[in-house]
């Protein structure tokens, strides 16, 4: 418990001093504001470029504005999150920063758990905050096809769980390869591959990426299978990360 508390505080200090909070905040919140505004301005821009009739074909409503934010969350934002977090675990292994804490009795499992929970909670807070802002903008700028705020919050929770999985996957791959860039690239590849696999109906509900599809459709039907399987993957990957960490850190 001592190690967990010490490392939680250390992660907070690190994220503050290395501007990780700032980067995550911008990477997540920015598009919540930017997307609806761009969508609002798009017809105007098009109108001045092409003739007016075409612009009126683009129909943007509240639902599609939020969906556009979800799209950005699993594209640009994912990139920014990976860029920001990729060095977090591998740096500690490769530059032997753990020797002092470990030789003074730090518990490696607590270090890994503190790291994962810190980033998961931070990103979840930003994502929920992002969805609230995005919803506000969407409702203010557009009028048709309204969706309930409750459903937007559920989408926020689903995306948060997906990010929780991404963080653990990144940590797991970092603990194997000890190179942050490589781990981040692999996460990105798996993300893209699973975006394709999710189209196969039979396995879709066991694929983490399905969380994004569910968030995008604003349904609450059949979401539990996916949530539970992702949480199961998270637990397994965390345990494997801890195991790798113990075996690889000083060898």
């Amino acid at each position: 418990m001592n190690t967990f508390k010490a490392y939680l505080k250390k992660e907070m200090l690190e994220s503050w001093r290395q501007y990780k909070y700032l980067l995550l905040f911008i990477g997540i919140i920015l598009f919540a504001i930017l997307d609806p505004i761009l969508l609002k301005l798009l017809p105007e821009i098009l109108k001045s470029k092409i003739n007016g009739d075409l612009a009126s074909l683009i129909q943007i409503d509240i639902k599609s504005a939020v969906q556009n934010y979800i799209k950005d969350l699993n594209q640009v934002t994912l990139l920014i999150v990976l860029l920001t977090l990729m060095g977090s675990l591998s740096d500690e292994i490769s530059s032997q920063k753990l020797i002092f804490p470990y030789s003074k009795g730090a518990n490696l499992s607590s270090i890994v758990i503190a790291k994962i929970l810190h980033y998961a909670v931070t990103i979840s807070i930003f994502i929920i905050f992002g969805f609230i802002i995005n919803y506000y903008y969407a409702v203010t700028l557009f009028s048709e096809n309204i969706i309930a705020f409750k459903n937007v919050l559920i989408s926020a929770a689903l995306i948060s769980i997906y990010y929780f999985f991404v963080i653990i996957l990144l940590m797991f791959l970092s603990s194997i390869f000890k190179k942050g860039v490589l781990a981040a690239l692999l996460v990105l590849m798996l993300h893209i591959i699973s975006a394709l696999l999710v189209n196969i109906d039979k396995i879709a509900k066991f694929i983490p990426y399905n969380l994004i599809s569910l968030a995008n459709s604003f349904t609450t039907e059949n979401i539990l299978t996916t949530i539970f399987s992702v949480l199961l993957y998270c637990i397994i990957l965390s345990l494997l990360t801890i195991k790798n960490y113990k075996n690889n850190t000083f060898a």
């Binding site: 505080k9 200090l13 920063k97 002092f100 804490p101 470990y102 003074k104 009795g105």
Partner: protein
């Protein structure tokens, strides 16, 4: 205090440590000597519980250091060769962070950190970020970290190898101070004069084996051989061949103008050195006898080890 018996460590098929054994008494300084790559850091990392070992037994303070039990390690402090920190923290923040890991209450930790920073002469830089520290300052901070929570046993891996003379002097004084306070210290170095300066006992580690372990004095008694340093008017180039088959000469080394003759039988040497020299028929400027240094002994032992 520390007992190591038949310790073996393999990386794949390569045996880094081939069954080393040594013992360190409480309140003494033991120096692990060896060339780079001899296995010093590996030994340190095993004794501090950082890495596993393949075979052998280790007892720290009477308790066995098992692969999975880290209990005996609560008594140790370790300063690795190039200490790394979270450099966005300040020196005192880092010490506070380590205190938290050990569960020392805030007020007590604050007090101890102040004391330690004073001891390692880092008070002025205590509130500066570690990324601005010089190599010597990092070493001092590392020493403070190792000393935190008053461990009984302290491991120092090459504590002075990258330091300027002044920081080196400081670190040595602190090591001697620690000994005064009853600490048991294991330090590794490849600088022999350093070992001679502070160590009570030394172990010479070469190619994964301990080829000597004991007091420096014993080492010298056992292996000290007299050396004749001779300065000739003109340096004879074929002197090695000429003296090659003289029985009491162990080795000949030529450095600048001086020819050093290593003796293995001092009585014979005393009787015959002058006659051998006169046979050469070259004017001699000076002839001096001296004891060999730790460095000479070290080189000879390591050389012997090569033929085994």
């Amino acid at each position: 205090m520390i007992k190591v018996f038949n310790l073996t460590k393999k990386y794949g098929n390569y045996e880094v440590l081939k069954g080393i054994s040594f013992e360190i008494e409480k309140g003494t300084i033991y120096g692990l000597l060896g060339r780079n790559g001899a296995g010093k850091t590996t030994t340190m990392n095993i004794l501090t519980g950082l890495i596993d070992y393949n075979r052998g037994e280790i007892y720290i303070n009477g308790k066995m250091l098992d692969k999975n039990k880290r209990k005996p390690l609560e008594e140790i402090g370790y300063l690795p060769e190039s200490p790394t920190f979270y450099t966005y923290m300040t020196g005192s923040e880092y010490l506070l962070f380590i205190s938290k890991i050990r569960g020392i209450p805030y007020k007590k930790a604050k007090k101890e950190i102040d004391k330690l920073l004073d001891l390692v002469k880092l008070k002025e830089a205590a509130n500066k970020k570690i990324q601005t520290y010089s190599r010597g300052m990092k070493q001092k901070l590392g020493l403070a970290v190792a000393l935190l929570d008053n461990p009984e046993i302290i491991f120092l891996d090459e504590p002075t190898s990258a330091l300027d003379p002044e920081s080196r002097y400081d670190i040595f004084n602190q090591i001697l101070e620690m000994k005064k306070n009853g600490k048991t210290i294991l330090l590794s170095t490849h600088i022999l004069s350093d070992a001679e300066r502070v160590c009570d006992y030394i172990g010479i580690l070469d190619k994964g084996k301990i080829i000597f372990s004991g007091k420096i004095k014993e080492l010298k008694q056992k292996y000290a051989l007299p050396i004749y340093d001779i300065v000739f008017e003109n340096l004879p180039h074929n002197i090695k061949e000429k003296l090659n088959n003289v029985k009491w000469i162990a080795d000949i080394k030529i450095k600048n103008d001086t020819v050093s003759i290593y003796i293995n039988d001092i009585e014979l040497a005393k009787k015959n050195i002058l006659s051998e020299l006169s046979k050469l028929d070259i004017p001699v400027i000076s002839l001096q006898q001296r004891e060999n240094t730790l460095e000479d002994i070290f080189i000879r032992l390591v050389k012997q080890n090569e033929y085994i």
